[in-house]
Symmetry: C2
Subunit: 393 residues, 2 copies
């Protein structure tokens, strides 16, 4: 069976053909210091000295790298041609480029997408020196990378579904644990233990994973759980994901802590929950190949504001995969920090989060986050969504 | 007590004063994708949206970042001024730059040093746009970063010594385990277990850490241990380091497997060992503030070649710290792949590996690697060096 690196480098060649790009060149060094985010996908281990990973429209896959790492390249089984060097990558790189004479050399430079921007500034200057007259043929690899990274193969989707299933298990083992009097940190510690005993990692820094927000005064955002205690009448909000077989999940859930005498949440809390659900459904109704994330975000955002809540200050959703924020097209508004990513058309095989949020005054944050995959005709959930409030006593 | 992030950001201000640089600006986004290698040192956690971390010669430390991460910045206790935004970093960044009106804006761009080259290419284009007329004041932060990263504080040196002591423990628990008939992989698995039971991490990817080379046919370099079996008459070579309290060690050791009737290694093996030892001593005799790594490398390299061995095809040594290859000045030859790093003068507080290697025909690789710190007057070992061959039966 092909490894994921073999599968993804093959996929990259077919994407070069589709997009009419002659060559994609990933240029890296000392990737333990600051790796190109595409390296785990197209190579699978770190590289030390200046290394060029080249794929061509004609189907060649070439690795030019330090001799001490040539065996590692061989072992990937993903590169047909491996060229080792001791003193400088320059000659081998120049020889290869001259032989192939590509009309376009796509390199990892992007204003919009951090995952397509793996070439660091000084290394980019060196690369231009090495390429000499060919430097004029450099184009951004952003469209190639967005496709390679975004279009999840069957194996990638299997891993993501497995990570989501584990996340659901951990949530299920957490809900009965949540009770008035506990601190956010105690709840997070319980979820850490449940994660580690399953042999899993965390989708983002453990200190912030899960986020647990008890009630209206808990700091929302990328903040660590606090000593705030769960109280009756509060919404308890979670944001959590695991890392399993190198792929992630990212799921938000909400509970309501019943007050003495209550058998269900007050109307304003239920209204908040129903609004978030409606925003998710509205988004999913619009997601299909060719739609833009801007349209999808706008529709969901409108449902939240028209229901009387303050507009959420983040994008509706992001791609997810090997990284929990996986780059490329975004379900988001055209805020400057997002660049052009909300205008990129959606494609089959992309995996997105959908995560509207809103504050219910006096009770706390409602944030529901589901993970979905874009299909030929629309999209579908990758795990069971939260369709009802979960109650804690 | 000051945290390490507080200590290092204070140190950075004093380095800006020493070097006469008005401002150091680290600009990042989505650091889970591809982090600037300085971020763990000057901030300590990942950042999601475009974020500017600014230090000035006048002593200001300013963080401009997404509102959802403002609490995290506050919690570092390392930034006096925290400016949050929702839509775009542009305005707050421009206002800050105008107010400070720096003559130089040092940014993380370097041809030579991956650790000083954390600004990715597309993000650098965006930064130039945001800076407008001030973009002309951009200089490379390489000298600032080399000093901040290279000059280890007392606390950093304590952590490195602790990592080295743990490494020595793990080696001591490994030597008695090594016997003829074992595979390289079995020995590596033993060292993995010894590391994990101490609650430690690995200095580089676990698959390659340790490297274990039994005899002359084992692939040397950044290669994973193989099914090759230890045999009498072989040199067994190790390259191993741990990650402890976020700092690393990097130590190579050599054993000799006695043949029936032998009570010591053959003369050629001992000659190889003595040569590597002599190269280390020659290097240490030259290391002091102001010396260059080129001089040090040249002296050690000469001892190896004059003793009749083939020249090693790597640098004599590299800096070590939070990352096992920690950037900046290198003890190395002027090979193009190393850029100008062998010409950078050595400084007090820098930690280096010294790792000459050579092949003893028919027996295997001798590589000894010691970790040292540069002092006011020279240098000193950070752990007990290997001064004699270790024998396996």
């Amino acid at each position: 069976m092909a490894t994921l690196v073999q599968e993804k480098t093959q996929q990259a060649v077919s994407i070069l053909q589709e997009k009419g790009v002659d060559m994609w060149l990933t240029f890296v060094r000392e990737t333990r210091a600051a790796g190109d985010p595409m390296l785990p996908i197209i190579f699978g281990t770190d590289l030390t000295w200046q290394s060029a990973l080249i794929m061509t429209r004609s189907g060649e896959r070439i690795a030019i790298l330090g001799n001490l790492e040539a065996d590692t390249a061989q072992n990937t089984g993903a590169y047909d041609t491996i060229v080792g060097y001791d003193l400088s990558v320059r000659q081998a790189l120049q020889d290869t480029i001259r032989r192939l004479d590509p009309k376009q050399i796509a390199v990892n430079i992007s204003r919009n997408d951090p995952f397509a921007d793996g070439l660091s500034s000084g290394l980019g200057e060196l690369l231009r020196d090495y390429l000499g007259e060919y430097a004029g043929r450099i184009i951004s690899a952003e469209p190639v990378i967005n496709a390679v990274r975004g279009r999840k193969t069957a194996e990638e989707q299997r891993r993501i579904r497995a990570a989501i299933a584990s996340t659901a298990d951990i949530y299920a083992a957490t809900y009965p644990f949540v009770k008035a009097g506990q601190t956010e940190r105690e709840i997070a510690a319980h979820m850490h233990a449940e994660t580690l005993k399953r042999g899993l990692g965390f989708a983002w820094e453990q200190k912030f994973c899960p986020a647990v927000n008890a009630g209206p005064d808990s700091p929302i955002g990328h903040a660590a759980p606090t000593e705030i205690r769960v109280e009756p009448g509060q919404i308890v909000h979670f944001d959590f994901g695991v890392l399993q077989e190198d792929y992630t999940s990212d799921i938000q859930r909400v509970m309501y802590v019943l007050r003495p005498g209550e058998s269900q949440a007050p109307a304003e809390v239920q209204h908040g929950f129903d609004t978030a659900r409606a925003a998710i459904e509205a988004a999913m109704a619009l997601i299909k190949p060719g739609a833009t994330g801007l349209e999808v975000d706008t529709a969901a955002r409108k449902i939240v504001t028209e229901a009387g809540f303050t507009e959420f200050k983040h994008a509706l959703g992001h791609q997810m995969g090997r990284s929990v924020h996986d780059g490329g097209a975004l379900l988001g508004p055209l805020w400057e920090k997002y660049g052009e990513t909300p205008n990129m058309p959606l494609e089959v095989g992309q995996v997105f989060t959908i995560e509207p949020s809103l504050m219910v005054a006096g009770h706390g944050c409602i944030g529901i986050e589901e993970d979905i995959v874009v299909t030929e005709t629309g999209c579908e959930y990758l795990g069971a969504p939260q369709t009802e409030l979960i109650y804690a006593g």
